[in-house]
């Protein structure tokens, strides 16, 4: 079901953990859908992401997507990190099954949420960054059964 890359990142996740006093932290997804991603960013004064760590509650694809996303943003500038899209995460993982595409979207949103938090804390505006859509609790009420 999963590519070798996905299995590799799932079994040996890179950058798993927390960053104390992180420059920005973002949490997206919700437990109801079974996926929560938290991204920690350590950003230096020059706006370069020095370190990135994640924690994820979710399936194999969610864990692999988070792991890959941290690798993709590490060492990048804030604006370069914004270009790490879900597509980029998926490609780097050699693809995801169709039902798991939302996991890569969540990874993109997690980066955005952490960047948003960084921007808020520093009272700066990052061009092209919008307030993250999903939050842990957002949308819980309007989730209805499929039938």
């Amino acid at each position: 079901m999963y590519s070798e890359k996905v299995m590799d990142h799932f079994s040996n996740p890179r950058n798993m953990g927390e960053i104390e006093d992180a420059s920005g932290v973002g949490t997206v997804g919700n437990a109801k859908c079974g996926d929560i991603m938290r991204m920690y960013l350590d950003i230096d004064e020059g706006g370069v992401i020095q370190d990135c760590k994640f924690k994820t509650f979710g399936c194999g694809a969610a864990i692999a997507s988070s792991s890959m996303a941290t690798e993709l943003v590490k060492g990048k500038t804030v604006s370069q990190a914004l270009e790490v899209t879900n597509q980029a995460v998926m490609e780097a993982l050699d693809g995801l099954p169709p039902v798991k595409v939302h996991c890569s979207l969540l990874a993109e949103e997690a980066i955005h949420a952490a960047l948003w938090d960084y921007a808020q804390k520093n009272q700066i505006e990052i061009e092209g960054l919008q307030k993250p859509k999903s939050d842990v609790h957002e949308g819980e009420e309007n989730q209805e059964e499929a039938y």
């Binding site: 996740p13 437990a31 859908c33 079974g34 929560i36 991603m37 938290r38 924690k55 994820t56 509650f57």
Partner: protein
């Protein structure tokens, strides 16, 4: 392939050697069409009749009340749809439970779109049907009660006899999906007042693509497949003789070894439950502790997601199953786990282990050790666990 620990016997089972042996001559020697008049055909017909007798006997039924199908889902669909259609003149109300297999639930949904009304009776926190709710749901136009014998996910066994008595008293037909129970528990259709019963071959060490529907004599039912006199004209098509012979051989085997099999499975089951409860924190046993299938273990583990757990167990050669959404291809976790009152979050972290008499205590030990390691790893990765720990630190 390295040795696997197979703990998914509710999904399917390994075929028993005697079942394979019974089937083999049907492929190459006794290969005739049971409808043909020459001896090859009559041999097949004889084998078919014998198989029907074996199945009937296992349920306390008559051979002409057994209709072979291509599996449990087909039998469920047939029972519910054909009964609804045949009795629509009497009423259009059906009663079922919230924790049925999708073969029944989706069939009910289908009927709802065609003018039938369905009441979905709730279950308690252990998955036992709320009998008062069932009684209250009965109407003058209720034509069918369909309640599963035992649940496929959490193993809870329903008070089938009681339900059968209520149905009989009210003159309502009673169907039970016994796919998980048949071959695991003694069933007598007379004693339990069962009018229709579905079962499947591959859950009891028999072949896949086989099953049957028991229909009590005198019950109206529409034909499922038209085009021949097979199965008393109700399910046309040349009979799957090897499959049917295999199904009967599997049933015969299951009923003859039931006592010792149950004893062995229960010992493994209880050992597994006790070790998990004792050694893995923040877990919940799903399903009734006592009224449960002898081979079923189902736990929810807080802060982790089931699919990750399954993949990591698979890497260690352990086959299990989960009610997590990710394993069902939707965003919703198992309807059964939600019906017993679990939150989405807890339902996502569920694991089902279903043992067989071939498993060993050593395998249970190995499984628990792997689970402990994996669950700890997944929790260390979980933001939910992080929040939980921080909250606890704050409190202390």
């Amino acid at each position: 392939m390295e040795k696997v620990i197979y703990l998914d016997n509710a999904a399917t089972t390994k075929m028993a050697p005697e079942v394979v042996e019974a089937m083999l001559p049907c492929f190459t020697e006794c290969y005739g069409n049971a409808s043909s008049i020459y001896s090859l055909g009559t041999q097949a017909k004889k084998a078919l009749g014998k198989a029907r007798e074996t199945i009937a006997e296992s349920l306390g039924a008559e051979p002409n009340e057994i209709y072979f199908t291509a599996g449990g889902s087909e039998a469920d669909n047939w029972a519910v749809k054909a009964t609804a259609e045949a009795y629509a003149f009497k009423g259009k109300h059906i009663i079922t439970s919230a924790i049925e297999h999708h073969a029944v639930l989706h069939t009910c949904k289908y009927l709802e779109q065609r003018g039938f009304e369905v009441s979905y009776i709730g279950v308690d926190e252990n998955g036992i049907l709320k009998m008062e709710e069932l009684k209250a749901a009965i109407r003058t136009d209720t034509i069918l009660i369909t309640i599963m014998f035992a649940n496929n996910e959490i193993g809870t066994i329903q008070p089938i006899k009681e339900i059968g008595e209520i149905a009989k008293e009210k003159g309502i037909l009673f169907h039970t999906d016994a796919v998980q129970a048949y071959g695991q528990l003694p069933i007598n259709v007379e004693e339990y007042h069962i009018d229709m019963l579905s079962a499947s071959g591959h859950k009891l060490n028999g072949p896949k693509g086989t099953g049957f529907l028991y229909i009590r004599k005198g019950i109206k039912s529409r034909s499922l497949i038209h085009g021949g006199q097979q199965e008393r004209g109700r399910r046309a098509g040349t009979e799957n003789i090897p499959g049917i012979v295999g199904l009967a051989a599997a049933a015969k085997r299951a009923f003859s070894i039931m006592e010792e099999k149950t004893e062995k499975e229960m010992r493994l089951r209880d050992y597994l439950i006790e070790r998990i409860q004792k050694e893995i924190p923040y877990c919940r046993l799903n399903g009734d502790r006592n009224r449960r299938l002898p081979n079923n273990v189902n736990f929810s583990f807080q802060f982790i997601e089931g699919e990750s757990l399954l993949i990591m167990l698979d890497m260690k050669g352990i086959c299990a199953s989960s009610g997590s959404a990710c394993t069902s291809g939707s965003l919703d976790p198992s309807h059964v786990l939600l019906a017993i009152g679990l939150s989405h979050e807890i339902a996502h972290g569920s694991l089902r282990l279903t043992v067989s008499e071939e498993n060993t205590i050593e395998e249970m030990d190995q499984t628990v050790e792997c689970m402990k390691e994996i669950i700890e790893k997944l929790r260390s990765m979980s933001p939910l666990y992080e929040d939980f720990c921080k909250k606890n630190e704050g409190l202390s």
